[in-house]
Symmetry: D2
Subunit: 366 residues, 4 copies
C-alpha cells in the first residue's frame, strides 16, 4: 500500500511539473497580448473573452472536477496572468511601497513629517470660535514648541442645527493667529468649491472621516500641491483608506499624510476604537507618513496619553490632539478637548516635551 501511494505520488509530482510548464507558457502568451493591448490603449480585462474561455473549458470537461471548481481554478489562473500584465505596464499603485520603497517625507513649510524625523504634534481647538480663543490657543501651543496648529472653520456636524463653524472668517482668524506665532495651519475642507480659500489661508488641507470617499473633493484637492491630511473613514477598511489616498496621488498631489482616528465598533466605553494595526499596515504597505488623532480615537481624556504612546509605538509619525482654553464651554466636542494645564501634563507624560524641544532646536537652532 505504501509503495502504491509512493508510486502515485511520483505521478503527481510529474503532473505538477507539467502543469507548471503549461502555466508558464500560457503566461508568456498572455504577456504578449497584454503588450499589444497596452500599445493600443486597450484594457487588459475583457469580461466577454473571459466568459467565452470559461465556457469552452467547461464544455470540454469530462470530470472529475465539476464546472464550478474548474471555473474557479481558471479564474485564479486568469487573474495571475492579468496581474503579470499589470506589473509589466508599471501601472502600480502610486501609494504602494512596492512602487516607491523609501518613506515619503511631506514638508509643511520647513516642518518635515514622516520617515526618521521626530514625530510631530498637531494641536489646537476642535473649532475656531472667536479671535480670542484662537489667539490664546495658538500662543499657548507655540510657547510649548508645537509647530502645527489645527482649528476647524467648516465643521461637519451630524445635526444641521449645531454650530457649523465660522467659515471663511474662521479660516482668516486661523491664518492670522498662525502667522503671528509662527505656526503652520491645518484646517478641514468639506467642499471642492472652497478650494481657493483653503489654498490661500491654510497650510494643510484636512479631509475628514466623513469625506474620505468624497471622490469629487479628493480629485479637486489632488490638483493642488498643498499637503493633505487624509483621515480614515469611520468604518473604512485599510484598503479603502489607501485607495482614497491613491485618488489624491493619481490626480497629482503626492503630499499626502494619512491619519488614523479610530474605527466604529460595538464597544461603548470609547467613542471609537483606535486601530494600531492600521497604523502599522499603512506604514508597511504605503510609503506615506501616518498620524494618529488621539482625541477622536478614544473620545476620552484619560486615554490621550496611552493612545499617544501606543500610536507612536506602532509606527506613527505624529499625533493630532485637541486643546481648548476652556473645554467646558467649547461649541463642539467639549467632553474630549483638554485645557492648557492638562496639555502640559500630556506633553510631559508622553515625552513630547522633550521631542518638541529637540525639534525646535534642530529646526531653529536654539
Amino acid at each position: 500500500m505504501e509503495q502504491k501511494i509512493q508510486s502515485l505520488r511520483e505521478q503527481i509530482d510529474q503532473l505538477n511539473l507539467e502543469l507548471l510548464d503549461l502555466l508558464s507558457k500560457r503566461a508568456h502568451v498572455a504577456e504578449e497580448i497584454g503588450e499589444i493591448q497596452t500599445s493600443l490603449g486597450l484594457s487588459h480585462y475583457d469580461p466577454v473573452r473571459e466568459q467565452e474561455m470559461l465556457e469552452a473549458i467547461t464544455m470540454a470537461n469530462l470530470g472529475p472536477f465539476d464546472s464550478g471548481t474548474l471555473k474557479s481554478l481558471f479564474k485564479a489562473i486568469f487573474q495571475a496572468s492579468m496581474q503579470l500584465e499589470h506589473e509589466a505596464d508599471k501601472v502600480k499603485y502610486l501609494t504602494s511601497r512596492k512602487t516607491h520603497q523609501e518613506d515619503t517625507v511631506v514638508y509643511v513649510g520647513d516642518i518635515p513629517i514622516g520617515s526618521n524625523h521626530s514625530p510631530v504634534l498637531i494641536a489646537g481647538p476642535c473649532a475656531i470660535e472667536s479671535q480670542e480663543q484662537v489667539e490664546a490657543t495658538a500662543a499657548f501651543v507655540a510657547s510649548r514648541g508645537v509647530s502645527l496648529f489645527r482649528g476647524g472653520a467648516f465643521k461637519p456636524r451630524t445635526d444641521p442645527y449645531s454650530f457649523q463653524g465660522l467659515g471663511v472668517a474662521g479660516l482668516k482668524l486661523g491664518r492670522e493667529a498662525c502667522d503671528k506665532h509662527d505656526l503652520k495651519f491645518v484646517a478641514e475642507i468639506m467642499d471642492a468649491r472652497d478650494i481657493d480659500a483653503f489654498v490661500e489661508y491654510a497650510d494643510v488641507l484636512q479631509v475628514g472621516a466623513r469625506n474620505m470617499q468624497n471622490f469629487s473633493l479628493l480629485r479637486a484637492i489632488g490638483t493642488t500641491t498643498k499637503p493633505v491630511l487624509l483621515k480614515r473613514g469611520l468604518s473604512a477598511t485599510i484598503e479603502e483608506w489607501v485607495m482614497a489616498a491613491e485618488y489624491l496621488l493619481s490626480a497629482g498631489n503626492h503630499n499626502v499624510i494619512l491619519c488614523e482616528r479610530g474605527i466604529r465598533t460595538y464597544e461603548k466605553y470609547t467613542r471609537n476604537t483606535l486601530d494600531v494595526s492600521a497604523v502599522a499596515l499603512a506604514k508597511l504597505e504605503t510609503h506615506l507618513p501616518v498620524l494618529v488623532d488621539v482625541t477622536h480615537s478614544g473620545g476620552r481624556r484619560d486615554l490621550l496619553v496611552p493612545l499617544t504612546k501606543a500610536g507612536l509605538a506602532s509606527g506613527a509619525d505624529g499625533i493630532m490632539i485637541e486643546v481648548h482654553p476652556n473645554p467646558a464651554v467649547a461649541l463642539s466636542d467639549n467632553k474630549q478637548q483638554i485645557d492648557f494645564e492638562a496639555f502640559d501634563l500630556y506633553l510631559e507624560e508622553t515625552g513630547y516635551h522633550k521631542k518638541l524641544s529637540q525639534k525646535r532646536h534642530e529646526v531653529y537652532g536654539f
Copy 2:
C-alpha cells in the same frame, strides 16, 4: 424593622413630592427665560452659565452625594428644562413624526411613494455603460410594469482606476431611454457642482452611502425640489441617517426618500448586513418613505428574494434592485446584478409581479 422602613418610606414619598414641586417651579422660570431669549434671537444653551450653576451647587454641597453625582443629576435637570424650551420654540426636527404625524408621500411625477401606496420597485443597471445596454434594460423593465429606472452615470469607486461612469453623457442616455419607455430616472449625484445637469436629466437624485454625510452636497440638493433618495451610510447610525435627511428638509427640500442598504459588520457570507430594525425605526420615528436596496444589502443573488420579503414585511415602501442584460460583463458589481430571466423569476417569487400589474392598472387604467 418593617415599621421603621415603612415610616422612612413615607418620608421619602413626602420628599419626592417636594422635589416634584421644586422641579416644576424651576421649569416654569426656565421657560420664562427661554421666551425672552427667543425674542432676542439668543440660543437657549449657555455653557458658561451652566458651568457657573454647577459650581455654585457643588460648592454648597455637604453630602452625602459626591460632586460628580450631583453634577450629573443637575445636568439631567438642565437638559429637561431646555427640552421644554425647545418644544416651546417649535424648533422640532422636520423629519420627526412628532412634528408631522401623517406619512409623507413623495411623488416622482405621478408615481406615489410611501404611506399606503403599493410598494414601488426601482430597477436598472448598476452603471450606465452604453446606449444599447441602457435601452435594452429600460425596455425590459418597463415591459414588466416597472415605473422607476435606476442607472449610475457617476460611479463612486473605491479604486481610482476603476470605471467611473460615463458622466453627463450617461445622464443623457438614461434620460433618453426613460423618456422612450415612460420611466422615471433615478441617478446618483456625487458633486454639488453637477446639480444643474441632474436637475435637467434626472427625476430622482440619489445620494449614495459614501456621501450620506457630505453636508455640502446635501445642502445643495436641499435647495432644489427634486425627489431625493438618501441612502444610509455604510456604518451610519439610524440617528445620523435621519439627521442627514434633516439637512435636506431644513434646506427646503421635503421630497426625501430614505433607503436602507445594509450596514458593515464582521459577517463574511454577505457583503453587508440588511438592518430591518432600521427600516422599522425609520418608519416609526420619521414620516418619510423608506426603501430597501436589496442588491447592496446582501451582495448575493440568492438573497434577493428573502431580503425583499423581509424588507417589505418590516415596513419598507419599496425596493431597489440591480438588473443588467449580461451581468458577467458588467463594468461594475458584476457578481450581484441579475439578468432578465432572473428578474422575471424574482418578480414572481416576491409577488412583485402582481403588485406592479395592479399598480399599472391603478395609475394608467389598463
Copy 3:
C-alpha cells in the same frame, strides 16, 4: 494587430484545454491516493507532503510567475483535489443541505417545527422567578394557543451579583406549570453537569448565545436526543453558527433548531441587529429549522411586531418572545419583556392569532 491578438488567443485557448486535461489527470491520481488513505484510516491532508510539492514546483520555476503566485495557484489545485477526495468519502457536513436535501422537521412531543408546518411561537418569561409568576404566564399563553413555553432557570448574567435564576427548583416549577397547561418546556442549559436534570424536566434544551461555542456543552448535549435550540453567538459568523450545530449532529443529536437573536453592531438604537440574511442563509445552506428571538434581537418593545414579520418573511420557522405578568418588576431584562395585554396586541398585529388557532385545531381537533 487584431490578427496578431486573434492568433495569440487561439494559442491561449489551446493551452487552456491542455491545462484542463492535466488537471483532470492529476485529480484522478489524487482520488486514487485518497481511496487508499481512507482504507488505511489516514487523513487526506498531509501538510508535510504539500510543503514538499510546493518546494519542488518553485525550485523548477523559470518564470514569469513569481513563487508566491505559483504557490497560491497550486494550493488552489491541491484544495480542489482534496475536496474531491472528501466528497468521495461522503464526509460531508451533516448540517449541509447538500448532504440532506429535504427540510428537517424537529418534533417537540407532537409539535412539529420546520418545513411547511405553521410557524411556531415560543413564549414565556425571561426567567422563572416564582411559582405564581410561572403559573400565571403559562396559563395565559396556553389560553392563547401557544404550545411552547420558555422560562430560564439558570440565567447567564454579565454581573456575578445579578439574579442567576432559581436553578433546579426553577426547572421543577417550569415543568409543573407546563404539565398543568399542556405546554412544552424550553429552558437554557449552561453546564454539562446539569444535563440529567434538564433531560428530566425540560422538553427543549436551549443553548444560549454566550455558550454557542462551549464545545464541551455541545458535545454533552449531542449525546442526548432532546431537541436543542441553538442560539447564534452574539458576534458569531453564520459559518461558526452552523459548525456549532455540526457539533451536535456529529455527536448524534439531529434534533437541532437554529435561533437567530441579533448580532452585536455599532448601532445604539437597538440592543442587537437582527440579521435576516442569516435566517435566509441558514435555511439555504442547512436543512434545519430556524427561529428568530425577537425580544433579544431588537431589545425594544416597539420592534417586536416588525421584526416578527421580517423574520417570518425571510423564511423563519417560528418566533421566540418574552412575556411576563409584570415586566416592570421582572428580575432580568425588564425593559424588553411585554405584559399580557401587549402580548394579545402582538398576536393580533403579527397575525399569530390566526396561525395559532389554526394550529390548535389541526393538532387537537378543537
Copy 4:
C-alpha cells in the same frame, strides 16, 4: 430684558440650592433604609416600590414636565441614592481599582506578573502536537530566557472535525517539557470537569475568548487558587470582560490576569483588531495585570512586532505569542505562528531580548 433675565436667573439659583437640599435629605433617609435592608439581608432594589413611587409622582404632576421626563429624572435620583447604599455596603466590585488601589501582582511560581515588574513573555505553540514538538519548542524558548510556556492540549475549534488537541496526554507532555526546562506551563481549560487534571499539570489556567462568559467554568476555576489568564471574548465589551474577572474573584480566586486578544470588526486585512484602549482602560479601572496576545490580535506575522510595541506602550504587563518548530505543518493556526528564527528576530526587534536577559538575571542571579 437683560435685567429681567438676571432676576429670573437668581430665582433659578435659589431653586437649585433648594433642590440640592431636598436631594441630600432624601439621600440620607434612603441610606437609613439601605442599612436596615442590609441588616435583614434584603436587596436594595425593589422594583415594585420604585414603580409605586413613580406612579405617585406622575399622578401629582401638574406640569410643565410630561410624565416621561419626570420618570426619567426621578429614576436618575433613585439610582444615585441606590449607588450610595451600595457604596455604604462596601459591595464594591473586587476587580475595581476603587476597591483595591494598588496594582495586583500575580505570581506564577516565582515569576511576578504586573505592576512595575518587567513585562513577561509567554511563548509556545498553539497546540501541543507531539513529544518532539513540545520538547523542541520548550528547549528553544527556555534558551532565550522565556519563563512562561504556552501550549494547548484542549483546542476549541470551529469545525468539529478539526484537530481538537491531545487532551490529558497533551497536558502531561507539556508538564514534562516545562519541568525539564524550568518553565511555567500555561494551558487552556474548556470544561469544568477537567479541573483536577489542570490543577495537577498546569501552572496557569487559560480561559479562551469563546469561554469568557462560560460562567460555570469561571465559577469552578474560581474555587481554586491557580493563576488564571482570562482572555477577552471576541466581541466582549470591556465591561463584560471585567465582570467575567469579577466571577473569578468573587468565587475566591484573586490570581487573575486579563488578556486582550483583538476584537472582531469589519476589517479584512487583520484577523482581529487589537484594542489598545481596552488595555489602557483595564489598567485604569482594575488593579489586575493585563497581557496582549499578539498572535491572535492581528493574525499576521508582519504585525507581531508593532503590536507588541503598541501593547506594551499602552500599559500591558506582558505579551503572549505563538512559536512553532515548523509552522507550515502545524495542526492549527499555521499561518500565524512563527518559527525559531523569526522568534529570535522578534526578540531583537521588540527589545524583549534585553528585557528577558535582565529578568533572568534578577530572578536567577546569573
